[in-house]
Symmetry: none
């Protein structure tokens, strides 16, 4: 079911950076092994669970211009299986985001005078954080988010960084570099800016895996998902390639569904990782890469189904009703 | 159709608090007898009815952070059969809640300077009150709600207390203790806090019925629904256990559907109670327990149907379209 790009595998084989012998080949694991690993992340549902146990997630983002992005991320988290989904946004974005869905808990806290304190007090109750969807680039808000990231790191909270969260990271890479519980999800443009800043050269389009490994290494072996025609996932050591069929539409919002779902999978993967013995495949890739891969195949399958149903008119909202059939198709 | 937990019945049989010989066994009534009792609560629909006769309910709750909860409670009341459903919330929550549905009457009164007067003037026109969904913990608002509860008690209005309404009750139990027309609907965490405060010891997880009876007794034989894998309902004397299949998802909002529906059933049950002779089964359990049981089986059936349709992607909104089929399945 999972096919791998021959071009990228070739690139992988060519990769031999000076002295780094630890690059393990993706081809050591079959698609069905990877699939079983993802299946193992998904927690069983049972009547003995309490509200919140399947995940309490928060999205930090949402400002005057951008209200859709945090909605897409937060509602997808809920649809994928989180029990509670918060959004921390600016005051003027809050009523709009609330209006999209009564299921989200929306806090107009991001541009308040006590933003850091107001938002940070929720961190102990959260299982993962998605930073960036619809965040905007207002300096005051970004400064607050930087402080919140520092506090989230102190609590070892899983953090997904996307969109304008990546802009923040590009201006201040030390904020997240080397933090083992983070995943960055740059698209081509965001990847280029990060790469320019950290590696100090232009991305070599013919060597996507090599470039990704370089950037991961420069950032202290952080997990990065380089989104594109194929999604390439690496922690600077292992590499996974996700080239499941998706949608040929590139309309806005799909990245937000990816980051929201990844936040849930990341919490689940960490939980599973802590429970399992050393021999499981997830101990090879770690929870960050496993969660990234799970989210990539799920949202690609949603895209494929949504495009099949809606064709060219497909927009990000059309992916939401496909989460259930996509789950059914991919997992049991 | 209704199955009873052997464990809980065992616990019931073991229960013999000092001097209290009045605990009657649930097993004295068959599931089909209980079902017939609930069936008898539901008022027949007929063309001679006037608007409002089937129920005028109000939810007190809804604040800056929480707008979904009062919506879910109020819309469910309407779906279950109330004719008019009001929400009394804070000024900034009001337009958002209005936006969820044109069917609710939403009053931005909860944080106004005349909150108590503005809201209390509606009480004579209401048939039941649901206090707590999305209420928040702002002291000024809670103080107003406390005064409104006092006024509602003077009018013998049925009151369901849930969520942050239970927080208010935990801080000031005398507000509701001994009031015969109240139902509290705590989840596991809320039950623990109430129990700690009133019984002065930790909940014994192996003796849920004993603990529930103790708490009911401490609160003047108030009716309490201890929500969980099985819902246990008691007034300190009788006990009912609802273990109908529901949904294994524990996403937020489901408790709000329960409290909203319970508000309607409570009005109906009281009405029926006053009409019936002493020999009816409802005179054994009383309207509060009967209404609680009706709401529990209805929302569990909604959850079962919504989960069957939506699987893991099920969220609270998915239960709303299931109220009709659930009613059809359970009652005729």
């Amino acid at each position: 079911m999972i096919s791998f790009s021959a071009i990228i595998l070739t690139a992988l084989r060519r990769y031999s950076p000076s002295g780094n012998e630890q690059v393990r080949m993706l081809s050591t694991h079959t698609p069905s092994q990877l699939h079983d690993m993802i299946q193992g992340i998904i927690p069983p549902l049972g009547s003995s669970l309490h509200k919140g146990q399947a995940g309490r997630l928060a999205v930090i983002g949402g400002c005057q211009e951008y209200t859709g992005a945090p909605y897409f991320a937060a509602i997808t988290a809920l649809k994928v299986g989180a029990d509670l989904s918060h959004v921390f946004c600016t005051a003027n974005a809050s009523p709009v985001i609330k209006g999209y869905s009564p299921e989200l808990i929306v806090h107009p806290a991001l541009d308040g005078n006590n933003a850091v304190e107001d938002i940070s007090q929720w961190l102990p109750r959260l299982h993962s954080l998605v930073v960036g969807p619809g965040l905007g680039r207002e300096k005051k808000n970004l400064d607050a988010v930087a402080e919140i990231i520092v506090k989230a790191k102190e609590q070892n909270l899983p953090i997904i960084v996307d969109a304008d969260g990546l802009y923040l990271i590009t201006t201040n890479p030390s904020l997240i570099s080397g933090y083992k519980n983070a995943i960055l999800t740059p698209n081509v443009a965001e990847f280029s800016r990060l790469y320019d800043k950290l590696v100090g050269e232009k991305v070599d389009e013919d060597e996507p895996v090599t470039c990704l490994l370089k950037l991961c290494n420069k950032m202290g072996n952080l997990t990065i998902v380089k989104k594109g025609r194929t999604d390439i996932i690496s922690d600077g050591e292992n590499v996974m390639v996700c080239s499941e069929p998706g949608s040929p539409r590139r309309c806005g919002g799909q990245g937000d569904l990816l980051s929201g779902s990844m936040g849930v999978f990341y919490f689940w993967a960490q939980h599973r990782y802590n429970m399992q013995g050393d021999k499981n495949l997830m101990h090879h890739y770690g929870p960050a890469m496993s969660a990234a891969y799970a989210a990539c195949i799920l949202i690609r399958e949603c895209g494929r189904l949504a495009f099949a149903r809606n064709g060219r008119t497909m927009t990000a909202s059309d992916l939401l009703p496909e989460v259930h059939p996509a789950f059914e198709n991919l997992f049991h």
